[in-house]
């Protein structure tokens, strides 16, 4: 049967990838019949109503799912479809309590019109009590209106759907994890809604192991733990994990939400000198040995609000005393190792290579990267022979946007060995932050050519 998903009309490019990821998590065969970025209504084919409820239950961007009884360009077409395809269902709802609601997207109807539209369904023969609070069944008439239909005086919607309500998404979760009420955040904490969507795209689920190499105050691990995963994280700046060492700490955030069971371990480390054990890439691996994580999620530093640095000395010739000083001092508990600016593109490559070495087969890596909206300054989506791009979602700001890119670790025997050989070791030249990071340079030049 066909089902109607009612999306929220926001973060449009994230909606379908999220639903497709949820279908993978739940093992549901999902076929998309019709979908458009401009409309909140999506028709899908699913094996059962139970599957539809399971599919939607942890979706952040879908509001509800409905058994689709009829659809058409006008109300007459909807009624014709309902009468043609659903009469065998009507008897099931003849005596239960029920209510009808009208959902007009970009449009409005007067109270009298609403009653007229609803009464037009009287032929369904529902004789049970009408109950506005907690009815046994809810039937919804959806109308898709053109933009500004009310001020323009447009008389009719462009498309209508009629369906039986089955289940709601998890639109309450972003409120539960709202940054405004979180004890401990920093300047670049990811907002709760997008962190949860990222967790869905990374297939976070009970029993899974997730790692965030740029953990900061823990926005992604918290979102993943909310879905039952056990999370690990590291950051080059240990202060972000420790916080004030009292209440405002990363651990305190997990405590606040009662998610401590999902806190695996946090440590201070640098991705380019990571202590995580890795398996060398091979063509004949058994798909698991030596690989640890089900998912890697991160929002790496863009080099604008927070510096993009790795361990090392920026210019060893100009400051030769730093290295011998480090040799003497590194055992001091207050010793802070020197760091140098690093190339943004090299870092993206490092993340992908790290993911290829540490993800189990079909494990996912989801990370955010910024790019200029101007085509000439756009930064391409990075690629790796051991990873297949699953989805690219874009959140657009004024002159730049950021993308959430998700990859799947493909099994060794599906990797093209030639592609790995030809993966040239790109050397990123430059010493200063601007030279190394085209996005940072474009950002501070206001994206002017």
């Amino acid at each position: 049967m066909d089902y109607l998903i009612r999306f929220s009309q926001s973060h449009e490019t994230f909606r379908l990838p999220e639903i497709q990821a949820l279908a993978v998590i739940e093992g549901i065969d999902l076929k998309v019949i019709s979908y458009s970025l401009e409309s909140p209504f999506c028709i899908v084919h699913l094996p059962s109503a139970t599957a539809a409820r399971r599919l939607i239950q942890r979706s952040i961007l879908a509001m509800s799912v409905h058994e689709l009884w009829g659809a058409g360009a006008d109300l007459a077409a909807v009624h014709a479809a309902v009468c043609a395809t659903t009469p065998h269902l009507w008897a099931d709802y003849a005596t239960c309590s029920f209510k009808f609601t009208l959902d007009s997207y970009q449009g409005s109807r007067s109270a009298a019109d609403k009653i007229r539209l609803i009464n037009a369904f009287s032929y369904l023969g529902f004789a049970g009590p009408i109950q506005m609070r907690n009815p046994d069944e809810e039937f919804v008439l959806f109308e898709d209106w053109p933009l500004n239909s009310t001020p323009l005086g447009i008389a009719d919607p462009t498309y209508c759907y009629f369906g039986r309500f089955l289940g709601a998404g998890a639109r309450d979760l972003p409120k539960r994890l709202d940054l405004k009420k979180r004890r401990y955040i920093s300047t670049t904490s990811m907002d709760a809604e997008l962190a949860l969507v990222t967790a869905n795209l990374a297939l976070a689920a009970p029993g899974k192991i997730v790692y965030d190499p740029f953990v900061g105050t823990g926005s992604f691990p918290i979102a993943c733990a909310q879905f039952g995963a056990v999370t690990f994280g590291s950051d080059i700046d240990g202060r972000s994990i420790r916080g004030d060492e009292k209440k405002k700490t990363l651990r305190g955030n997990f405590e606040q939400y009662g998610l401590l069971a999902g806190l695996g371990g946090m440590f201070t480390a640098d991705l380019t000198n990571s202590p995580i054990r890795r398996a060398p890439l091979r063509h004949d691996g058994d798909g698991a040995t030596g690989r640890i994580f089900d998912a890697i999620v991160c929002d790496p530093p863009y080099g604008v609000r927070e510096g993009l640095r790795v361990l090392g000395v920026r210019d060893p010739e100009k400051s030769p005393w730093i290295i011998p000083k480090g040799k003497e001092m590194y055992k001091d508990p207050d010793f802070v190792p020197p760091r140098k600016p690093y190339s943004f593109l090299a870092m993206l490559d490092d993340i992908l290579h790290f993911a290829a070495q540490t993800l189990v087969d079909n494990g996912r890596v989801s990370f955010w990267m910024p790019t200029a909206n101007d085509e000439e300054q756009e930064i391409p989506v990075p690629a790796h022979p051991y990873l297949e791009t699953v989805s690219v979602c874009t959140q657009v700001f004024n002159k730049w946007s950021r993308r959430l890119i998700t990859y799947r670790r493909i099994p060794d025997n599906e990797v093209d060995p030639e592609a790995m050989k030809s993966r040239e070791e790109t050397i990123y030249v430059g010493k200063s932050a601007d030279e190394l990071n085209p996005f940072r340079k474009a950002y501070f030049n206001k994206f002017e050519n």
Binding site: G207, A261, N273
Partner: protein, 127 residues
Amino acid sequence: MKVLTLNFLTCAVKTCKSSSDSFPLHPKDAELASDDVEVNPQLLVNLLPRIDWNALRTTSTELGFPQLPEQPPTAEELGADEKVLKDLHSLLIETQIMEGKLVCGHCGHEYAIREGIANFLLPSHLV
């Protein structure tokens, strides 16, 4: 830091990566604590194939726990025997190293653990 985390970590120094002595890191002057966490059988079953069992045996002995069997339990054994499940849960998930050091068996570098958070940043001469 959980004992489980220790099983995922080697020495961060690049020249140590090829040496088998750099894994597992050896705890030194470790102060242990135990967290109360609900047993999650699904997690332990998922973890089993990813744990390096020999390394875990070494760590477990070094921290003063009873010797683990030579072979890891199978997923069926974990499901059938609650004691095996609980013991493994208590060692991997509940036991935390709060203070102390982790020492690389190859280069001897010491990584400090403070309040349960280990520091793997390297001074410039080791990068």
